[in-house]
């Protein structure tokens, strides 16, 4: 293979990796806020499915992608409200309540999809931006300046969420509530209110990630569209050590590795097709095994806060 072809290939893989990492960034950064405040939301997958469906339905039926995305994020907020009511107010065990939320979102999206759409339909999808001369640049133009607007939003979210978490008083409260809720309460912070805010914010971002999949990436909806990405996003939070830039690193590495193996499959290897599909999940298992140090975890993660209970 000529050097030119290799460079071209790398460029192609990187360009795709940037685009496909966007939904992971939305969902994982959302989940990071939730976990930082002490709530493990395992329902991300279900929220993404519902977000993907709602966005696609309105983009398809009313021909407005913007309306679809807005409503998807709104539905995400409702799912977050449900999750926080169950996990924060009613103090349900978070691992299990997340699974309940997942099944709820999965079932609703599946039901409504069959009722209102029923089969394979597609839409034009969110267009890529043309940023004038920037998009014309030889290599960088394709790599960095020819994506759709949500990609830029996803990458902007990384520094923004870092700033919010570490440089604002709200961010300080979030971290306090997730590590030492009793101390935060003593200092006058409303623990449960911050947790509600974080879970709802996280769910809105998860829904946005789901919406991205249906209206900006696949441009269609199917029951297996999300295919575990919500759970992968949760895994990326662990890998990224609950830090925005760590999550960015994880999402990019994951997407690049995935891009490479996909190319490898297309390029005529003799591996069975199933191996291609297994690869990302196997990769995540390995990633989880390698990022197991517990000390980075918010200390009050999964522990509901009870003022009267001295534990």
């Amino acid at each position: 293979m000529a050097i030119n072809e290799i460079l071209n290939l790398i460029l192609r893989i990187l360009t795709v990796a940037i685009a496909v990492s966007a939904p992971y960034l939305f969902a994982a950064i959302g989940e990071m806020f939730s976990q930082k405040s002490g709530v493990l939301n395992l329902g991300v997958e279900g929220i993404m499915m519902l977000g993907a469906f709602v966005a696609f339905y309105f983009a398809w039926a009313y021909e407005s992608i913007l309306l679809g995305i807005i409503l998807a994020v709104f539905v995400g907020a409702l799912m977050g409200l449900l999750m926080s009511f169950v996990s924060v107010t009613l103090k349900a065990k978070q691992g299990i309540s997340g699974i309940g939320l997942y099944m709820f979102g999965w079932g609703v999206a599946g039901t409504l999809f069959r009722l209102f759409i029923g089969g394979v339909e597609d839409i034009a999808g969110l267009p890529n931006l043309h940023l004038g001369f920037l998009s014309e640049l030889p290599i960088l133009g394709k790599l960095l300046f020819s994506h759709n607007i949500l990609v830029y939003l996803a990458f902007l979210l990384v520094p923004i969420s870092w700033y919010v978490l570490y440089k604002t008083s709200w961010g300080l409260k979030v971290r306090a509530v997730g590590s030492t809720p009793r101390a935060a309460d003593t200092m006058g912070t409303n623990v449960n209110k911050i947790r509600y805010q974080c879970v709802i914010l996280g769910s809105m971002l998860a829904a946005l990630g789901g919406a991205y999949l249906s209206v900006a990436q696949a441009n269609m909806f199917a029951n297996d569209l999300v295919a575990g990405r919500g759970f992968i996003a949760v895994a990326l939070v662990y890998f990224g050590r609950w830090k925005p830039f760590g999550i960015l690193k994880g999402a990019m590495l994951f997407s690049i590795a995935n891009g490479f193996q996909r190319w490898y499959q297309i390029s005529g290897s003799t591996f069975p097709y199933e191996v291609t599909v297994i690869f990302p999940y196997l990769l995540i298992i390995i990633v989880l095994a390698l990022s197991h140090e517990k000390f980075a975890e918010p200390t009050a993660l999964t522990v509901p806060y009870d003022r009267e209970f001295k534990g």
């Binding site: 309540s97 759970f231 069975p272 989880l288």
Partner: protein, 361 residues
């Protein structure tokens, strides 16, 4: 005695309320879909209990639900959330199917235990991987079991499309991804004739439920396994190898799901085919919670949700509501049940609600 009965009745009351709350929520979806919830629920709940077919199919579904539900209860008892039922069922099924095809001449009394053992072992290994990763590398078991589900599903498809495909599918050129039919000496016989599918595997399931009850509540092993879940630190002080019991709990849990897959193959389909597990791995979670994580409690719970699953299919045929709705209802039931735990398990609230009924308490 009286207190125990009150507790059980109270449990049933709370579970019923949870279920009703879930149905009310579900009716919002039905209203969005433009269907009268009363008509839909009537089809879902009344139809299955008003025909032999409905009852038989509910029992058929209750068998894998019971096995998976028991498995999930075992895992829960040691504080492990096993979401990997789906993958464990499929790998157990395909292994059992391969075993059954490999031993055509062996008498039934020997063949069936061997096949069940194979299904149990393979499901158990798949669950054990997640247990090992939790114990040794503190990998969140929900995430690892979910990932293992996707991997198992692809392995399963690969095996029934490739190495294990029915030779006649190749010969006829139809290529349906399924194995050959299991030999007669390896399958459970049907219990009632007239084409109903209920089979003798249900007795195996009931026996296993009782055995697991004895294992968990009447042996040191079971005591230790539960101790690890309830008080890991104290268990550690008492010299119990916490890691070992976490892994064993997941092996048993996966093994139960493996048996569920096995029974589906040799009891219902007599082949390994696509779509063998109808999300039993997830429905089993609801069954376990409804059975209060107790092997004996799981028995009625599995029948109840067996009715719900066949009810959802009947509803789909009657009023054209997709049976996927039942997944969301189950999700809501999970949410409602875990929410009600505040009431059931927190002594402060329980006393408030039950204090006036309990004697000397």
């Amino acid at each position: 005695m009286r207190n125990n009965i009150i507790k059980i009745l109270f449990n049933i009351l709370v579970l019923s309320i949870s279920f009703i709350v879930a149905l009310l929520f579900g009716s919002i979806i039905l209203l969005i879909a433009g269907v009268n919830p009363l008509v839909a629920y009537q089809a879902m709940i009344i139809r299955p209990i008003s025909s032999v077919y409905g009852l038989s199919e509910a029992l058929v579904r209750s068998i894998p639900l019971m096995m998976v539900g028991i498995g999930i209860s075992i895992a829960f008892r040691s504080k492990m959330i096993n979401i990997g039922g789906e993958g464990q069922i499929q790998l157990g099924a395909v292994a059992a199917g391969a075993a059954a095809l490999a031993i055509p001449g062996v008498p039934k009394a020997i063949a069936i235990p061997i096949i069940i053992l194979v299904g149990f072992t393979v499901g158990g290994i798949w669950g054990g991987i997640a247990g090992w990763m939790k114990a040794k590398l503190s990998v969140n078991e929900v995430l690892s079991t979910v990932m293992l589900n996707y991997i198992a599903f692809q392995l399963y498809l690969f095996l029934i499309r490739g190495p294990l495909i029915d030779p006649s599918e190749i010969a006829w050129g139809t290529g349906v991804p399924q194995t050959a039919r299991m030999p007669d000496s390896t399958i459970f016989e049907r219990l009632i004739q007239q084409g109903q599918r209920i089979h003798s595997g249900i007795f195996i399931a009931l026996i296993i439920a009782i055995l697991v009850y004895f294992l968990l509540w009447r042996t040191t092993f079971g005591f230790r396994l539960r101790a690890v879940g309830e008080e890991p630190k104290a268990a550690n002080y008492a010299g119990i190898k916490v890691d070992k019991y976490l892994i064993l709990a997941m092996v048993l849990s996966g093994g139960m799901a493996g048996i569920a897959g096995t029974i589906e193959v040799i009891g219902v389909h007599h082949r390994v085919l696509e779509g063998l597990s109808a999300n039993y791995g997830f429905s089993g979670i609801v069954v376990a919670l409804f059975g209060r994580l107790h092997p004996i409690g799981v028995i009625p719970a599995s029948f109840f949700f067996g009715l719900l699953l066949i009810g959802a299919e009947m509803m789909q045929r009657a009023v054209n509501i997709p049976s996927a709705l039942v997944i969301s209802i189950q999700g809501l039931v999970i949410l409602a049940v875990v929410s009600s735990n505040l009431l059931l398990e927190n002594p402060k609230y329980r006393k408030k609600f039950l204090g006036f009924l309990m004697q000397n308490n």
